[in-house]
Structures are given as structure tokens and as C-alpha cells.
């Protein structure tokens, strides 16, 4: 039908999202990706959800160290430093 660069199907685009976010797509593929996103609400939402997934996964790191563990490590340090 067309001699232009073949578009990416949504089903294939979702497999390129990580490569896209990692900056690992070759330039031509990168352009096709952004071209598709510009005209596709479903894939725009999908990409946003992947970004949101990464952000929310990052919140799992909010955790404190227990005072007991801290005290035990300090004790171990003093043993080492005086040894």
C-alpha cells in the first residue's frame, strides 16, 4: 500500500518500551517509536504506565534500619578498629 517506513503495531511497540526508555533504540527505530506514540492514545498511556511503574517500584526502598542492628554493627566496628 505504501512505500514509506513500515509503522510499528501496538503489539510490537510495547516490547520496545524498555529499549526506548534506556536509550537503546537505533535512531530510525527511535523515530518510528515516537511517531507511533504521537498518534496513539493506547500506547501513550502504556508508556506512561511503565514510567509510573518504575517510579512506584522505586518507593520500595523507603525503609529504615533498626536501632538494634545499628548498635550491633557499631559494636562490630569497635572490635575491628581496636583489633
Amino acid at each position: 500500500m505504501s512505500v514509506h517506513i513500515a509503522p510499528i503495531a501496538c503489539r510490537d511497540l510495547v516490547e520496545l518500551v524498555t529499549d526506548y526508555l534506556e536509550g537503546a533504540l537505533p535512531p530510525e527505530q527511535h523515530a518510528r517509536f515516537e511517531n507511533h506514540i504521537a498518534g496513539c492514545d493506547g500506547c501513550t498511556t502504556y508508556l506512561e504506565q511503565m514510567r509510573e511503574t518504575i517510579r512506584l517500584t522505586g518507593t520500595l526502598s523507603e525503609q529504615q534500619i533498626s536501632p538494634a542492628a545499628r548498635a550491633a554493627l557499631l559494636h562490630a566496628f569497635r572490635g575491628w578498629a581496636s583489633g
Partner: protein, 221 residues
């Protein structure tokens, strides 16, 4: 004051890490506690990927710190201090896991390729004029309150989804997205190629997204 000449030791370290290494070698307690506060929680989480219980993980981390102290005088600075600490941790944890006979297939190639990111039924089937386009597109989360997204329940959904991943995918997503390691650091720690690391990360993130979508659509339905 004149700028001091760059010290010849540890060319690969940031000024901050160089300061910590030198302070540790001088047996400076504050420097050690600074490292503890910076890495302890993260080290325990990473150790949990290898051993069965929180208690054993804390044990592994305590052993790791001893390894750091014993090794610091001979530390060459060929990798960053952080990478060096995590390498001691993963070695210690793997040894411990073997002793506990929990066999984990590190960097097995098999778990990089296990199905598509999105259920194929969500797309129009072959034969359709628009085959491969969304039949059932995702619904955005931007209407959801931040309190829902950051709730303990949402976090436990993410945590559970990560726990169900094949081992290497789990390691990669935890190191990259929870602990905030760079791709280069993860590749060095797990001995993965760039492509393999990316494939594993992609599989892992796709599955966590799918779990979140399932959970969050219960809220929006």
C-alpha cells in the same frame, strides 16, 4: 588556598567515596556509620533475594560489613566503593544460600524470554484490518489519587509481583528500580551482557506493570 594535586590513589572513586575509604582506613567510626545508614537497608533487601529469611539476610549483611572492614586496607579502588561492597554482599549471600541448599540459577538464560509484555488478547487478531492495534487499551492512572498509588497496599502488590518473577529478572529489577543502580553496575554485579540485562529488565517491568494494572483497575472500575 591552592588546589591540592589530585591524589594518585583510587582514580575511579568519586571524592565522596575517596573520603570514606580514607576515613575507614583511619578507623573513623562516623564514616562507618555513614556507610551503614546509606546502605544497610538496601543491602538487607538485596541479600533477601538470595536467602530465605530476613534474619539470615541481616546475618549476611553483618558478615558483609566485616568483609568490608577486613578488606578496606587492601581495597584498590578499581571499582567504585559501592560496587565493591555489593560484590562482597552477593558473594557472601550466594555462599550462604548454597549452604542452605537454596539453589538459584544465577543469570540463567532461560528466564529472559518468557512470553510477551502484554496479553496478546488485548490486541486485534491477525486478519483484522488493524491487526496488532489495541483492542483493549490500558486506562490511564492519572485520575488516581497519589495516596492510592503510594499506599502500602499498592506497594505490597509491586513487591508480590517482583517476588513471583524468575530469579534473575527479580535481581535485575530490584537492583535497577528499587536500589537505583545503573545498568553498568547491574551488569558488573550479575555478569550480564547489556542486551540480556535489558531483556530481563523489560520482562520484569512489564509484569510488574501488568500486576499494577490489574490491581488499580479494581479501584477505577
Amino acid at each position: 588556598m591552592a588546589e591540592p594535586p589530585a591524589p594518585p590513589a583510587f582514580p575511579g572513586l568519586s571524592p565522596d567515596e575517596r573520603r570514606l575509604v580514607e576515613a575507614l582506613r583511619a578507623r573513623d567510626e562516623d564514616a562507618f556509620m555513614e556507610l551503614i545508614d546509606r546502605y544497610q537497608a538496601s543491602l538487607v533487601r538485596v541479600a533477601m533475594m538470595y536467602v530465605g529469611s530476613h534474619a539470615v539476610a541481616e546475618d549476611v549483611v553483618a558478615e558483609t560489613w566485616l568483609g568490608v572492614l577486613r578488606g578496606i586496607d587492601g581495597f584498590q579502588g578499581r571499582s567504585s566503593l559501592r560496587t565493591w561492597i555489593y560484590r562482597i554482599l552477593t558473594n557472601t549471600a550466594k555462599t550462604r544460600a548454597q549452604r542452605e541448599r537454596r539453589s538459584i540459577s544465577f543469570a540463567s538464560l532461560g528466564d529472559g524470554d518468557d512470553g510477551p509484555a502484554v496479553d496478546p488478547d488485548r490486541f486485534l487478531p491477525p486478519g483484522d484490518p488493524a491487526a496488532g492495534a489495541w483492542a483493549s487499551p490500558p486506562r490511564g492512572w492519572d485520575g488516581l489519587p497519589e495516596a492510592t498509588l503510594l499506599s502500602a497496599e499498592t506497594r505490597s502488590v509491586i513487591d508480590a509481583a517482583i517476588e513471583q518473577l524468575p530469579p534473575t529478572q527479580r535481581e535485575v529489577i530490584r537492583l535497577r528500580d528499587v536500589e537505583g543502580f545503573s545498568s553498568a553496575e547491574v551488569r558488573a554485579l550479575l555478569a550480564l551482557s547489556e542486551t540480556n540485562q535489558r531483556v530481563l529488565l523489560h520482562r520484569a517491568r512489564s509484569k510488574v506493570r501488568a500486576a499494577l494494572e490489574r490491581y488499580l483497575s479494581e479501584d477505577t472500575a
